[in-house]
């Protein structure tokens, strides 16, 4: 019997696991995929929102500003890339300029610090590549950028280091209520008995909720499609660029990424299929045309990747946070600004449980610092020292991103064993560059197979079933090696 079972290991579930790992409690996280952060967390804009957007009084508003305040320190503690870039909301007409003032008022009500309306000249002085049609902007200095899956991995690795257990390939398909606990069953027949359940199942949170009770809410994913540009375009803007929503809907975001690329998107399309992350030519063309209105010189030739992500929007039009039954707590419908809000939501959970009569005790000893060796980011002397200490840091596997064998081995040894090429990519950046894994794939397969003991033929590109290879050559005659 454990104390907590967290269902879902996206950014929300991982932040909750990290928070709970500070307390004297047995915590298990159940994730349906073969790795964490494979839903909305791995395909979104990666923006830390300042907090002027949510309507005052909503849960989104309540957790956004505190989350934005927490992120810089968390990023430093967990060695996660974060940059407080600030953001600009652009107006292109007098009417939109009025919209900026409404946002300013809302932001001030939400407690967002430092908001300021800038003139067209001041705006273009900050971001010279913006269209000359810009009439004004709202500047928010506390906005920033983070790599969402990197943050989720850091939360979960730290949680695991502090005693949390993670079960992968563990889709919860049954929830039984016993007298003083819940019994969870997974698709592959595993059972977990737990005093408390925290439902952080993202796009599937409505279904998980329904396993324990009737249908309380439903989730309709909103699909958004993106362009990711090469690093050569990374300095197009220094800040996160938004637009005032107009009659065509919410404009696209143009933002730098923490790795020096440029991200452009998303559009918004409600979809029925919770796994539908296919991209569509017409949708991408729409994103492109909207973005070109903002920055006419955007170098679409430097696009290196398109992807689509799903935001888990609940029909309540706000976050769904709270007990649905004694001991069963939902953290659902965490659409934007969910990435920003996640640590603040997690931070609140021990208080919510205490208020419900389940107080938690802090651990006397909790290991909250995480350090990652990243060879390409080290100054010369530290590079030299790192390679002297471990020659594997001198063996570069991914040449586009300068990622060493040592970093890939480290990623395999931080509590969660990746089982896919994309798992290594998310942890180290290997394969993220110009060649998109063409050069380093074979080297990573070899390291992964050696480190995890998985037969190379079973290594996946990404989720379970996405096998890289169909077999071995020369295996028809003679014995298969």
């Amino acid at each position: 019997m454990v104390d907590f079972a967290v269902i879902g290991a996206g950014i929300v579930g991982s932040a909750i696991a990290w928070e709970l790992s500070k307390y004297e409690a047995d915590v298990v996280v159940l994730e349906k995929e073969n790795d964490i952060a494979l839903g909305a967390t791995r395909a979104n804009s990666g923006i830390i929102h300042a907090g002027y957007d949510p309507e005052p009084g909503t849960l989104a508003a309540r957790y956004n500003v505190p989350g934005a305040r927490m992120i810089p320190e968390i990023a430093a503690d967990l060695d996660v890339h974060f940059r407080q870039t600030g953001s600009l909301v652009l107006a292109f007409s007098d009417r939109e300029t009025q919209g900026l003032h409404a946002l300013l008022a809302r932001g001030q009500k939400n407690g967002v610090p430092g908001l300021q309306i800038l003139s067209a000249e001041a705006t273009r002085a900050l971001e010279p590549r913006l269209s000359e049609r810009v009439t004004a902007s709202l500047y928010a200095p506390t906005a920033g950028i983070v790599n969402p899956w990197e943050l989720a991995l850091a939360f979960m690795e730290t949680a695991i280091k502090n005693g949390v257990r993670l079960l992968l390939d563990a889709a919860v398909t049954g929830i039984g209520k016993e007298e003083d606990h819940y019994r969870l069953r997974t698709a592959d027949g595993r059972e977990v008995s737990t005093r408390f359940v925290i439902n952080a199942a993202g796009a599937y949170a409505d279904e998980v909720s329904a396993l324990a009770a009737g249908k309380l809410f439903s989730i309709t994913p909103t699909k958004g499609e993106y362009f990711l540009f090469d690093k050569s375009a990374g300095e197009t803007v220094d800040r996160v660029i938004f637009c005032v929503p107009d009659e065509l809907g919410k404009g696209v975001i143009i933002a730098p990424t923490v790795h020096g690329n440029l991200i452009v998107g998303p559009d918004a399309e409600p979809v029925a299929d919770k796994d539908d992350t296919a991209t569509d030519g017409a949708r991408l063309a729409y994103v492109r045309s909207r973005a070109l209105q903002v920055i006419p010189s955007l170098p679409f030739n430097d696009n290196i990747r398109n992807f689509a992500g799903l935001r888990a929007a609940a029909d309540t039009d706000d976050f769904v946070i709270g007990f649905q039954a004694p001991g069963f707590f939902n953290v659902a419908g965490i659409k934007s600004p969910g990435l920003t809000a996640a640590p603040a939501i997690a931070d609140d959970i021990p208080r919510r449980f205490a208020a419900a009569g389940y107080p938690l005790n802090r651990k006397a000893y909790w290991q909250g610092k995480r350090r990652i060796v990243r060879i390409r980011e080290l100054p010369a002397e530290e590079k030299a020292a790192a390679i002297r200490a471990n020659p594997a840091y001198g063996h570069i596997i991914c040449r586009c991103e300068t990622i060493s064998e040592g970093e890939i081995l480290d990623a395999c040894r931080r509590g969660m064993k990746p089982v896919s090429l994309d798992g290594i990519k998310r942890r180290t950046g290997a394969g993220m560059g110009r060649c998109q894994g063409g050069f380093c794939g074979a080297g990573i397969v070899a390291i992964l197979a050696g480190e995890t003991g998985i037969d190379p033929l079973r290594i996946c590109q990404d989720k379970a079933g996405s096998r890289l290879f169909a077999g071995r050559t020369k295996s028809a005659g003679g014995t298969d090696d």
């Binding site: 050559t473 020369k474 028809a476 005659g477 003679g478 090696d481």
Partner: protein, 116 residues
């Protein structure tokens, strides 16, 4: 007159072969083109390149080739024999791996040296 593109080397000479005049070849820039043009019309041949299994941890496959062109029609028989070979290193470049493969008279030989 039959138009062909010479495949002997990447130059890709445009050949014309005249079956009415003893398969005379024109358009070639070297003697190999003449041989190719005649053979391609009368009985086409190809060099087959592939790999064979090695019992090495670090080098799982050894590249090989037929040491002379074999009839195009037997390429898959040649592959069947190649697919059955397993070798222990060391292997040196040029070392025969299969002799008289598929009864063609050609040998399959290693095209690289593997020390361990």
């Amino acid at each position: 007159m039959i138009d062909l593109i010479c495949i002997c080397c990447p130059e890709g000479c445009r050949l014309q072969v005249d079956p009415d005049h003893d398969y005379a070849v024109t358009g070639n820039r070297c003697p190999r083109g003449e041989t190719y043009g005649r053979e391609e019309v009368i009985s086409p041949v190809r060099i087959v390149t592939s790999t064979v299994r090695l019992t090495s941890e670090t080098v799982p496959r050894l590249p090989v080739k037929t040491d002379r062109p074999v009839p195009k029609s037997v390429m898959f028989q040649v592959m069947d024999e190649i697919n059955r070979v397993v070798l222990n290193p060391p292997v040196r470049l040029g070392q025969p791996v299969i002799s008289d493969v598929a009864g063609t008279g050609a040998d399959v030989v290693a095209t690289r040296t593997v020390t361990a």
